[in-house]
């Protein structure tokens, strides 16, 4: 019941061809559909039709993020909840938003981000048979992440948005950075019983800090770095570890300037567990545990 996980992101790119080349050749996603101005992509292990949508626009950044719900009734349920909270909801029929897309509702968070809940996206299967499959396809290019993992957005009022996600959409707060003045600087929330599915950090409303692809282990982070360096992709942060979420990570930019991450690790969590708190003094460690200092580039550059 309820929201299962992050389903997809739609990002703007000024050069659709170059971005498609990057996401297919360097990241190693699979194209499942294409329109005049949009390209639909999925990671190899995902069953559903798409998890990344590239939209040709003269700028960069996030258009919307989609979250998968378990049942069609969840859409009605959250429509009611959102209406009670005074949020306008638009409903879309299956396929109305794009090829392969399911039934969906869209609304705007207090931070201005467009959020979508989607049910019943077309299932195209991963690249493996259902009977006696090999562990992974062999002919992949790029670093070929198996799935999309989480999204990190920027907003002016982290605390307000965190409360909204908790109270209206039933997200569970796992970690937070609390400033010396008592305000939340950043928060991490989950629906999938992992360390986080979405995180918020203080910044511009409607901003995208990054979205992350899951890779299977620490070694895969290294392999990702190999692929990125080979293709001349700007790596922002070399392979390292987060304090918050305990994840392993590497950060880099797509050709439009949207930040990507390859992420692994983290931990399992149950919904009743209390959040972990990082103090402002240890914020550097919360972000990059080994460096232990706040990286201004990392905190200020967003799309």
């Amino acid at each position: 019941m309820g929201i299962l996980r992050l389903s997809h992101v739609e990002v703007r790119v000024p050069d659709l061809e170059l971005a498609t080349a990057y996401y297919t050749e360097v990241v190693g996603l699979y194209e499942t559909a294409r329109e005049q101005d949009r390209v639909f992509l999925k990671c190899w292990d995902e069953q559903q039709h798409h998890s990344v949508i590239l939209t040709s626009e003269p700028t960069y950044g996030l258009n919307h993020m989609g979250w998968k719900v378990r049942y069609r009734e969840d859409l009605d349920y959250y429509t009611d909840r959102l209406a009670k909270a005074g949020v306008d909801v638009i409903r879309y029929a299956a396929g109305e938003i794009g090829p392969g897309h399911g039934e969906a509702i869209r609304f705007t968070l207090p931070s201005g981000h467009v959020m979508e809940l989607v049910y019943g996206m077309q299932i195209v299967g991963n690249l493996l048979p259902l009977v006696n499959p090999p562990p992974k396809p062999i002919n992949m290019v790029g670093f070929a992440p198996p799935r999309l993992d989480h999204i990190f957005i920027t907003c002016e009022d982290v605390a307000g948005n965190t409360v909204f996600l908790q109270e209206v959409l039933d997200f569970h707060l796992t970690e937070q950075v609390v400033g010396d003045d008592g305000f939340q600087v950043a928060t991490w929330l989950e629906r999938s019983h992992h360390s986080h599915d979405i995180a918020l950090v203080t910044g511009k409303d409607r901003g995208l800090h990054h979205f992350a692809f899951w890779v299977d282990d620490w070694t895969a982070i290294r392999d990702t770095a190999d692929v990125l360096a080979y293709h001349g992709v700007p790596i922002e942060t070399n392979p390292t570890r987060h304090g918050a979420t305990r994840g392993h990570c590497i950060y880099f930019f797509d050709p439009a300037g949207n930040r990507n991450e390859a992420f692994t690790g983290g931990y399992q969590v149950d919904p009743e567990e209390p959040p972990i708190t990082w103090t402002e003094a240890e914020m550097g460690r919360a972000i990059f545990y080994y460096d232990g200092v706040v990286d201004q580039h990392f905190l200020t550059v967003h799309s």
Binding site: D15, L16, L18, T20, Y30, E31, V39, V141, A229, G232
Partner: protein, 392 residues
Amino acid sequence: MAASDIRNAQADGAEPVGDEAATTDARPRLPHLNRTDPPAYLQNYLNREAQGGKRHELDGGTAPDSGRTDDTPLYLRRFRDRKSGAHPLESPLPEWEGQDLGVTLARAQITKTKEIVPEDAQQAGAKVLTQVHIIRHGETQGYSTESGLTPLGSWQVHRRGFDISKSLRDGERVHIVSADTNRARQTSEGIRKGLLDGLTMWGREAEVSEVHPMEEFRNFQVWTPEGLRDVTGAFRLYKKEMEKYERVAMGNRPSWLVEIDRFWQTQAGGGDPITLWTQIPMLNFEPPSATVRRFWAGIERIRTEYPGDRIIVGTHSGPIRVFAISAFGYDPGEPYNTEEVIVRLLEEKSALIAYRNRVQEVQVPQLDLLPDWWERLEGAALPSAPRQEARA
């Protein structure tokens, strides 16, 4: 860039990057921008698109390992696929004295890819007659001996050549010249190798000349008792003479020694001796304006001798810098290793000069009409050559 510009760029279907034959397939190209520096993965993608863009059953294609009607083993088909295309890994790696270079790509990264490129002059209605790349040499062992490039320097210049190859069109002629020092010559040679490797990789044909020295593009000169030298060439004599004066601790040093000492002391102190040369009048150094004049003379000669060719000049930072200063009217700074100033000669005796994100249109100086500073001067006010003429 405004949204409308982007749309226009998409609408006129603009020239494809890299391999122009890449999009013969029915699938229309996605909206895209024109790039002077397309990454290799874009080319991989376009190649794949040219073969139908199919990578797997998922997008309606056939995976290499699912052709089950064929008994040929997968690895053999994979091997044939690979052999059928020019794979980047098959192009030779740059070498230094026959050895592989154990340096990282990042440090050899070309220094100028993301800068403003002047608008294609043909679009603007002007015709580019000749394009000249004036390029600083790669990293050297040092400036006290004529020891040429380091392995990293060789890698840098190879990268620069490779980068330039992306902008060459089929059938273009490239003429490569250099200043007469080892580091400049090795730079031009390395650029030539990088160019040829790039042309192979992009599958393009261009005519690339051997490297020729050109006097006009030599480094700025300093007078020594052994004749005119560039500062590196004069270093040994300078050191020897200085030691002599230090040992005997007496006598006045001749002015050439004083000046070249100032130059090298600035370098030794961590300062920038080229700034010293551009700012301090030195009687035994070639005046910067003479260097600029000499460069324009070289460019004029190129325009006459190789009309329409792409010219690559491997030379030194000092002359490049004063050439840019003279065009821009301010000091844009010392060029890094393999950084370039681009001169596009247009019709009507004008030229576009691009360096460090600035493009300046200048009139090509008419050298015959430049002032003669010694007109009506006599005797000691004249420089030595005209003085000797007068005596004769």
